[in-house]
């Protein structure tokens, strides 16, 4: 591990240690926050009991679906909009202000239309994550050097071959940023929607535990989601670093 990595790990361990100490010494009321060690032991018990398996399956399934739809549809929409400059000109102001609008206000409307099923959660998740992917795709395609298109013509490549062999790899760093944002937005939207109103899922579980003053269960579930989100983001970060290293030839 690098020196920076060691310092990062030390900071995290120190913060967890400080929280543990504050909880154990009564500086923080155990009715508000339980010690991290108790969170971990509660999570181990929960996972061993298998009582949250169905919720884990449901929530992670919905998140995966939301992320996949956002990335695929967002990329396709981005490519299409990029090819239609007038449509793009018309839509640009909406993209620029999209995240200034609280999209979640439409969640009750979606529940009214589709009922208490995974459908409103999937829709609100995709609505939250897809625009990040569209914007990243547009940015990426904008930044493909014009000379590469000329090179494609010199090599007599068709439109599809140009897109797949030159435009896509040239735009890849921007597309990857879109993927990372879609993953984050997908996670946030699905958990938040389940938390607000859902018949099942980890977000609903956290909400129920909170309402029942069941701190052990609530913090165990929060810890579980934190671990999953951290693993996914660390994986994406490692991939990003690997691609960046190839492009920069290992230079920082």
């Amino acid at each position: 591990m690098t020196r920076v990595g060691l310092i990062r790990l030390a900071v995290i361990v120190a913060l967890i240690g400080a929280l543990e100490l504050a909880c154990r010494t009564g500086l923080i009321d155990h009715r508000v926050v339980i010690p991290p060690s108790e969170m971990a032991s509660a999570l181990a018990t929960l996972l061993a009991s298998g009582s949250i398996n169905a919720d884990i399956e449901r929530t992670l399934g919905v998140i995966t679906l939301v992320i996949a739809l956002s990335i695929v549809l967002g990329f396709a929409a981005g490519v299409l909009i990029h090819a239609l400059p007038r449509v793009r000109e018309a839509l640009d102001p909406f993209f620029a202000t999209y995240y200034a609008v609280p999209i979640f206000i439409f969640y009750p409307v979606l529940i009214a239309i589709f009922g208490l099923s995974p459908m409103p959660i999937v829709l609100i998740g995709v609505a939250t994550a897809i625009v990040a992917m569209i914007i990243a795709t547009l940015n990426g395609l904008d930044r493909v050097p014009r000379v590469l298109i000329k090179v494609a013509r010199v090599h007599r490549l068709g439109r599809l071959a140009t897109a797949l062999t030159l435009q896509l790899p040239a735009a890849a760093p921007y597309l990857f940023t879109g993927i990372k944002l879609s993953v984050s937005y997908g996670f946030i939207a699905v958990i938040a929607a389940e938390f607000i109103l859902s018949p099942a899922g980890l977000g609903r579980d956290i909400s129920d535990a909170y309402a029942d003053f069941d701190n052990r269960r609530m913090y165990a579930l929060i810890l579980f989601l934190l671990i999953i989100a951290t693993i996914v983001n660390a994986g994406l970060h490692a991939l990003d670093l690997r691609f960046a290293e190839r492009r920069s030839g290992g230079r920082p």
Partner: protein
């Protein structure tokens, strides 16, 4: 067509149509040019005179507004013909591919057998002095080496007409001289016809058999100068008096045009008078 003529432009003009508040721009011509098989032809002219437009029309990357372009007797219009290779001024290496894969890019799509592909790519990389960098990525190379990667990518396709659009524009003077030697070596060994677009008079004077001096926009050839260099030559010719004469003559022809391109029409007029006065005096004598 004369059998020595490899590519030809006949009455070629290029007008970029106006859009909205922007008026149409007459960028090029009418222009005529016969490129002889195996010659090294350089095009020089003031900024914005249509040099790159000329190259792109000849390559088939742009359609001429009027006139005809032929390569090996066949019309070229709006598509790059087989046998034409182009190297651009901008860095056109692919940062996501190694030097070797960059060079192999075009050949991989041409259906050449794997063994033949390997041989041609290895040869091109060795020829361009990149053998030790075959597994490196372009970001690990200098600007001059990246340009060599682009030349290697063109070279593997064994083009019969090589079009170079200011390929050394972004390089320092010493590297440009050395790259000039490499291009001369490439030209001699491949036997290809080369058309070089450059803004550097010394580069044109050192490399070319013939140099076309272009007017300010719309670009036309105001003079085509034969350098008379032997085929076996390199950058050491810059030390000789003939080199100075050629660059001096080019500058004499282009000074007024460059002033015009900068918007100094009055200065261009007096530059032209200064050129013609001594000749008139000599004629009177």
């Amino acid at each position: 067509m004369h059998r020595d003529i490899h590519a030809q432009l006949n009455g070629v003009t290029r007008v970029y149509p106006g859009a909205g508040e922007h008026p149409a721009v007459h960028a090029l011509g009418p222009i005529d040019l016969d490129l002889r098989k195996g010659e090294f032809f350089a095009v020089v002219g003031p900024s914005g005179c249509g040099k790159s437009t000329l190259l792109e029309v000849l390559a088939g990357l742009q359609r001429p507004t009027a006139g005809t372009v032929t390569f090996e007797g066949k019309a070229v219009s709006g598509a790059v013909a087989e046998g034409i290779g182009v190297v651009f001024q901008e860095d056109a290496s692919f940062p996501w591919l190694t030097v070797w894969d960059n060079a192999a890019f075009g050949l991989r799509r041409s259906g050449v057998a794997e063994a033949e592909l390997r041989r041609r790519v290895d040869d091109a990389i060795a020829f361009m002095g990149l053998k030790d960098f075959a597994r490196a990525y372009p970001s690990q190379l200098s600007g001059g080496m990246r340009q060599r990667v682009c030349i290697a990518r063109t070279l593997v396709l064994q083009p019969r007409l090589i079009l170079l659009d200011e390929p050394f524009g972004a390089l320092d003077a010493q590297t440009r001289l050395l790259m000039g030697d490499e291009v001369l070596r490439l030209w001699r060994q491949t036997g290809a016809t080369v058309l070089l677009i450059t803004h550097a008079l010394d580069e044109a004077a050192m490399l070319a058999d013939r140099i076309g001096a272009m007017s300010a926009r719309p670009g036309r050839f105001i003079e085509i100068i034969e350098t008379g260099w032997p085929r076996e030559r390199d950058s050491t010719i810059v030390a000789g008096p003939a080199f100075g004469e050629i660059t001096g003559r080019l500058w004499e022809r282009l000074r007024g045009e460059s002033l015009k391109a900068l918007g100094h029409a009055d200065m261009a007029q007096s530059a032209q008078s200064a050129q013609t006065a001594p000749r008139a005096a000599l004629a009177a004598e």
